[in-house]
């Protein structure tokens, strides 16, 4: 593990990606603890639309709320949604993919065709359908993103699991009398950690993007809770008078996605020996 970590730190995009993610996690933790420079929800009517200054680092919005503090809470919101939705998708996708590969034939066909049906929807459309059914909110965003990503994880797991299943060491384990759950978790799952790790990181980037997109449409996190997408959407009508309201949320969203994309790329380079260091 420490060898992996050192290889990771030697990789230029790994280093930058990890730095960005750490910064965002720090902001999220401080935001959760309420350690923001100002109260992100409190209205300071006298200080409406103030440009960035020593007091308000990233300026204030129409209601006099501090942009920097709101971004910190927004990051926390995005991180919670991204991490919990990807965790759910990883869990369900891995279980489905493993079982499809292990049981094979009929079950494989049934489970993977169901996954194909889910994959037949453009991602955002599937998310919108779920939001229409349940109504917008934090937990709906989590569910929507999880449902979109579950079939992708199922596919990522099933392929390698199928070939692992035919390997001699699995046969050997069966001959020893190892139980099925033991073989599945010990022999199959452990060997799938590498492809899963790459997919999880890239899924996190995508989850951040989707969460911001859904709140941008007004269908994600609901006000007054600050969210990055909503802050950007609200800046649209004020962009000529108060460009900072647009630029800082836009940069925050971009940088966060970039952090996970860089990390995912670095992980892929390090964990997948067949790929040389080619992609940026």
């Amino acid at each position: 593990m420490s060898k992996l970590f050192r290889a990771f730190l030697r990789h230029p995009s790994g280093r930058i990606g990890l730095a960005i993610i750490s910064l965002y996690l720090l902001a999220a933790i401080l935001g959760t603890l309420g350690l923001t420079p100002h109260n992100p929800l409190k209205l300071f009517a006298i200080d409406r639309l103030k440009p960035p200054s020593a007091t308000y680092w990233f300026g204030t919005d129409l209601l006099g709320r501090d942009t920097f503090s709101r971004l910190m809470v927004g990051i926390k919101q995005s991180m919670i949604i991204a991490f919990s939705s990807v965790a759910l998708a990883t869990l369900f996708g891995t279980v489905i993919g493993l079982l499809a590969a292990w049981w094979g034939t009929l079950w494989d066909g049934i489970l993977m065709r169901i996954m194909d049906v889910l994959l037949a929807f453009p991602a955002i459309l599937l998310a919108l359908l779920i939001i229409a059914i349940v109504g917008p909110g934090t937990s709906t965003s989590v569910a929507a993103i999880a449902v979109v990503y579950t079939p992708i994880f199922a596919r990522v797991v099933r392929g390698p699991a199928l070939s692992l299943k035919q390997r001699d060491f699995v046969d050997a384990a069966r001959t020893f009398g190892s139980s099925q759950p033991y073989i599945l978790s010990r022999h199959l799952l452990l060997n799938l950690v590498a492809p899963l790790a790459v997919q999880v990181t890239l899924a996190l980037a995508w989850a951040l993007l989707t969460e911001a997109g859904l709140s941008f449409l007004g269908l994600g996190t609901q006000p007054p809770t600050p969210s990055l997408g909503l802050m950007l959407a609200e800046s649209k009508n004020l962009m000529t008078q108060a460009p900072w309201l647009m630029i800082f949320p836009a940069l925050t969203i971009m940088l966060g996605i970039l952090g996970f994309n860089l990390t995912g790329d670095a992980l892929r380079d390090i964990l997948d020996p067949r790929m040389e260091r080619r992609e940026a």
Partner: protein
């Protein structure tokens, strides 16, 4: 089983699954269709009027018979009647589709026109500073959501050029090609941006792979010029993954770009779905989502078939 035959056989099965999923999920949406349609005026309806409306839209039947009726209608090109527009769903979709199709094509032209040359350029200058710049730009492009680009474009246009991009209107291509293209150019750039970044990355790494192949060395040793090696010998093979990526992306774009259409107030398929969902137009949601999923599946099938045609190894070996 043959790969192509297998794909063709599972296709209708998946489409059937999609239709069931759409049909069931839209009925899980809280609130009834008639109230959603008429808003507060629904309260003024007598029970008899309400029942008549329900019968007109067919929502008084049990759910399985509604589904069967809808399914049999599908085969006759009948997707039901939209409660928002009071017209057949299919005609509403056909009205919105040209914009979405044109927008998808324009963004694809932008993405391929920018991405492929950039990717090839970077590959031929592997690990040099210019390669690094292209890679950084591509990574940034891939990490920028379309709505960020869209908002930035509107900002730059209005602040630095004092113009507001044409919004809310769309002239069909055959009526006035120039006006039509110029109306969609900024939305197309918005959508094409991240797409171009992925095309750059894929074509760069594919080009690098191909350039290290034996046959390229043979071509070089025969004395072929660098330009001929790159563009004539290597590019056709390097384009295979680009074709796959573009196909999948095109399938997504045909589903309408919900967010970009929202930013630029364009009447395309994406906004239609969004409106249909928020106004609980059962027939319209079902019809549009099925239409989009159908397009998506057809495009993906075509991409796979193209892949088989381009790469004979799959045809023989199966996957």
């Amino acid at each position: 089983m043959n790969y192509v035959a297998q794909r063709l056989l599972t296709f209708p099965l998946i489409l059937l699954g999609v239709s069931v999923l759409v049909f069931v999920s839209i009925r899980l949406v809280p609130g009834d269709a008639i109230t959603a349609m008429l808003g507060t005026e629904a309260g003024l309806l007598t029970p008899a009027q309400r029942a008549a409306l329900a019968a007109y839209f067919g929502i008084d039947q049990p759910i399985w018979s509604q589904y069967l009726r809808w399914l049999s209608g599908l085969f006759q090109g009948d997707l039901g009647i939209s409660s928002i527009y009071g017209r057949p769903v299919f005609s509403v979709i056909l009205e919105r589709f040209p914009l979405t199709l044109q927008l998808a094509l324009m963004s694809m032209v932008i993405a391929l026109g920018v991405g492929v040359p950039l990717g090839v350029f970077a590959a031929t200058r592997n690990e040099k500073p210019s390669d690094l710049v292209v890679r950084i730009l591509a990574m940034l492009g891939q990490s920028t959501p379309s709505f960020v680009i869209g908002v930035l474009i509107i900002y730059v246009l209005s602040v630095f050029f004092g113009v507001v991009p044409a919004m809310g209107t769309f002239t069909p291509l055959f009526v006035d090609p120039l006006a039509s293209i110029s109306q969609l150019i900024f939305p197309a750039i918005t959508l094409g941006f991240a797409f171009a970044a992925s095309v750059t990355r894929i074509s760069r790494s594919a080009m690098l792979d191909v350039l290290s192949d034996d046959y390229i060395r043979t071509a070089r040793s025969k004395g072929a010029s660098q330009r001929s090696v790159v563009w004539r010998h290597a590019l056709p093979n390097a384009l295979i993954p680009v074709v796959t990526l573009s196909g999948v992306e095109f399938g997504y774009l045909l589903g309408g770009a919900v967010i970009v259409e929202q930013i630029f107030a364009l009447p395309g398929l994406g906004r239609l779905v969004l409106d249909a969902i928020t106004q609980r137009d059962y027939a319209l949601v079902q019809g549009t989502v099925l239409f989009i999923a159908f397009n998506f599946l057809v495009v993906n099938l075509l991409v796979d078939l193209a892949y088989v045609a381009l790469d004979p190894r799959i045809r023989i070996g199966g996957r």
